[in-house]
Symmetry: C2
């Protein structure tokens, strides 16, 4: 089954509905139920550890695209929010432009908002110019993330959710966090009977300067992905564990008690991708999933409508 | 307590975190827990009725802003997604522009995406040029909605969730749906011990032509709001029940079996606003909420951390 065939099956069974633009989908309540239970399952793995726990909305300050360095590394993926830039007095001219077709976009201008680029990005500005505690600062976040990359592959949606655990602290704390959560994440997803692999990886930095960054990231072993079949037998990342060195610490003047720039690390679980991987691996009929998977996720198939009605 | 003081209290108690732009907030897991339980509580009121049930993402086709007529009525509220418009070859020039500060926005162009304007808007294109069944077509949807209206009042967030019940059918079916759900919604929210009122209302159409539309909407009694104190003693809308006449039926060539344009109606519950209204009315300590409110929402305060940690 190709990714496109798998997508067509999800659409035919009404687990997804077509959002009229490649990579934009509506989700059935059944699929959303799976995602909510996945979120709770992953969250439980961090229970008992003191951390700030936040759900972020889909929109962040545009300044975060710039401050995080995202816009220069991944310009092709960003989403900036523009809106009507006029006043009431400009409305008649605006309406004429719309009547004339399409050119209403000429009357829009960038706002100070952007779509969220990654689960951890909005956290660093919250710590800007501060000193983190000796034990480091931990966060758990869930976020709607945007990537402008239209595709027919349902594994590559333009909007999806990340559930992340983030550490801001010393070099040792950050690396230990990344390694601990990589192993914990592997165990969590393996317990759902997914065909998992752990592979060194690089981010899709854009353009020629990007290829150098990607090579350096691989050589330093900063990023590891947990991969599994998602929408075809070809494995893709369902989670990634990342050590960012002092990139965000320097960018936002976040320091450790000894005055050095803070180092950061995160693991991000892709909730839609994990849900798709479960549907691809175990089938689109949830009642036929392995008992261990249903038990781990506390999903009772008897109460779960299979389609969207 | 003013809306600004209430916001500061929610920030101090870490139920909200400041998203660095007015009207953008992160939400504690405790607040998200309340919102999830509210969503389930409202959803249960529609149980047993056959309808298509969908969670929409925060992003919709830009064409939906145009097709729904939203862009001409509320140009000031829209959010269009722009992204980098160049190729790999344009990256060096782009990076120079960013280095020079700010002008990187000149290298972006509108995509075919926009932030979701209202819970029901993405549904109508799904029915375009179709004939709805004799009994009409019903939907339940939950959506992240965007309104570009920066404010210090937490009742006026720029992104928030709507939970809607939508009817597409004959004039009689649409009006009956609106009236049935207005009464059902009133009873649902009254059972949470909120100080509710039902008031005829109009949408905030923009500009001088907009004022005529608003007057006509009021005169025809198309829109009713359920109001309650949200962030101050001044009541605001926590839900609204709307009859759209044949506006969307005509726009998308949706017809009833007799060949007439379909009429549509919806009720939209504002999940963040209802949650804030509960916190404003019953206090920010959930364990002190009325027993009936906690029981209705199946919230056990013992398992609910009060802040974000």
């Amino acid at each position: 089954m190709t990714a496109e065939q798998f997508r067509d099956r999800l659409l035919a069974e009404e687990l997804l509905a077509d959002g009229a633009v490649p990579g934009i989908y509506h989700r059935s309540f059944a699929l959303e139920h799976i995602i909510q239970h996945l979120s709770a399952y992953i969250s439980a793995a961090g229970e008992g550890t003191a951390m700030r726990r936040l759900h972020l909305g889909p929109v962040q300050a545009r300044a975060t695209l710039e401050g995080s360095g995202y816009v220069t590394s991944f310009p092709n993926l960003v989403g900036v929010v523009t809106s009507f830039s006029g006043t009431e007095a400009d409305v008649p001219g605006f309406l004429d432009a719309v009547e004339a077709g399409g050119s209403w976009l000429d009357h829009t201008a960038p706002t100070d908002l952007a779509l969220c680029s990654a689960g951890c990005h909005p956290l660093y500005p919250m710590l800007a110019s501060s000193v983190v505690p000796t034990d480091g600062e931990l966060f758990e976040v869930e976020t709607w993330v945007f990537r402008h990359e239209p595709s027919v592959d349902p594994a590559r949606m333009q909007t999806f959710r990340q559930h992340e655990f983030v550490c801001v602290g010393s070099l040792d704390q950050a690396v230990a966090h990344r390694d601990r959560w990589l192993e914990r994440g592997r165990a969590l997803l393996a317990a759902l009977a997914l065909e998992l692999d752990v592979v060194p990886a690089n981010d899709p930095f854009f353009g020629r300067p990007g290829r150098l960054l990607a090579r350096s990231q691989l050589a330093k072993e900063l990023k590891f992905e947990l991969t599994a079949p998602i929408s075809s037998s070809n494995p893709g990342a369902v989670a990634s564990a990342n050590y960012h060195e002092d990139h965000f610490g320097v960018a936002y003047a976040i320091t450790t008690p000894d005055g050095a720039p803070a180092h950061t690390a995160c693991i991000g679980f892709g909730l839609e991708r994990i849900a798709l991987s479960l549907l691809y691996t175990h089938g689109t009929s949830v009642s036929a999933w392995p008992t261990e998977t249903l038990a781990a996720l506390s999903i009772d198939p008897a109460t779960l409508a299979e389609g969207s009605r």
